[in-house]
Amino acid sequence: MAKELWKGNEAIAEAAIKAGCRFFFGYPITPQNEIPEYMSLRMPQVDGCFLQAESEVAAINMVYGAAGAGARVMTSSSSPGISLKQEGITYCAGAELPCVIVNIVRGGPGLGGIQPAQSDYFQATKGGGHGDYRLIVLAPASVQEAVDLVQQAFDMADQYRNPVMVMGDGMIGQMMEPVEFTEVEKRPLPEKTWATTGTKGERQTNVINSLFIDPAECEKHNHRLYEKYKAIENNETRVEKYNLDGAEIVFVAYGTTARIVKNAISALEKEGIKAGMIRPITLWPYPYKAIEEAAGLDSVKAFMAVEMSMGQMVEDVRLAAAGKKPVHFYGRTGGMVPTPKAVVEQAKMILGGVK
């Protein structure tokens, strides 16, 4: 298949359908409206079901019901809507329901703005909802990668019985890029014997639940979850290492910000400064090891996290660098996008400072 120009949001929707997603429950919010809109047209064509929920709260709970009933199901929203979904998200995690949640992040806090941002990192990776739980969080840097990751997201969700969040920013959602829909590698996936499908008289009843009124049981459940999370950490951590060889400064950036940083790296190269980048593709599990290793490289003088936020992922960079190398931060927020030029300037300042 030749490459075609696709708008990010629509490509994400089509990728979900290609991955077998047949249920979508959502609620309008800029800048992700093209996802539900596309779904409303396409789902009936593939005998699936698109439903506009009365709210984001209802949408995530419809996802809970459909996922519990064994379907491949997705919802999408943007920051304020994702905040509203927090209770439902921890319910999905607690009841171990596979589903895919897309967050096309916009500026905050509060009503904020509608331009691209990455300020929902903490919420996505540390736990916006209550209790101990984890989402798998995928951060595509291009429309093509969004398409690939969305397809894998459904498999990951099913393999681990865990919600997967695909986190992009307004740019990923709105821009058009060439895309090729290639089949993602199939994983062997467990059968959903646990789903509520009606017993059909063929099995014991199934129950979808996250209530464990006996604290000892509740703790056991948590431990079970954390064993699963450990496995996910081992199997699914993904990262792009770029230009690390001999790099004096290592940028850490994800999503579209990483592309800006790539431009900056080229610009620095022209000025004779070697810079590299670590691009987390999974925000959780976070590629701590890649950063730890880079921190051990002799050439590396400093890290610089670049984010569209006031500084969130930078904490994970610090955790990974563990004091071995200084970790700097440069960010724009509220819908402002860093420019390669500014990144270059910051980097030069830092290297000046370190030298």
Binding site: S55, A58, N61, A69, G88, S210
Partner: protein
Amino acid sequence: MAVIFDKTKGLTDKTFHYCPGCTHGIIHRLVAEVMEELNLLDKAIGVAPVGCAVFAYDYFNCDMQEAAHGRAPAVATGIKRVHPESAVFTYQGDGDLASIGAAEIVHAAMRGEKFTTIFVNNAIYGMTGGQMAPTTLVGQKATTAPLGRDENHAGLPLRVSEMLATIPKAVFVERVSVHDVKHIIQAKKAIKKAFQAQMAGKGFTLVEVLSTCPTNWGKTPLESLKWLEENMIPYYPLGNYRSPEEVR
């Protein structure tokens, strides 16, 4: 000897955790009996609320999901859209359905979601210890209305069936009670009709069941039945508010 009354297969053997005399137990049995009688247990998927009936998933002998507080209609929507042939029901209290879950029930009704809601109105938050519900009567005491509900402060109790009956796709809406055997038999009939209307694909169906909470009403189980009859029924008139031709 013929068995003329026995525990329905619609219930598991687990003993209810409800307080002595709490009519949640009666309502559970009625729903289970109806499902057995209509041969729906094999294709039933129930949704338990957050409320005293939170453990309903342990009692109904069919597939069950436990929903977040108030969101059972959304969960049921998700389920029924995935399995349109199945028999889906939610079992919800008045806090769950009429307070936090008001938007979800209104919209399930508006969309005409094809499931059945059993709405247990006991005029109180049972599970959390007796706080005021939207359905708490004026003057009735609750732990968050220590002097009794004051209509000037907290408004008048919400009549859910009347409100939902204004929604065209809420095709079956009936209010029943379980305070004596006669009404229990009527209640079961209504529940049966609701499931039948659901299976006929008519639209959204709801049975509001007036129920007791001896513990938080501070009354004995017998006093509670009486209180229900004398206080709740006058404000919450029993009867059918909507039903499609087929089940009339």
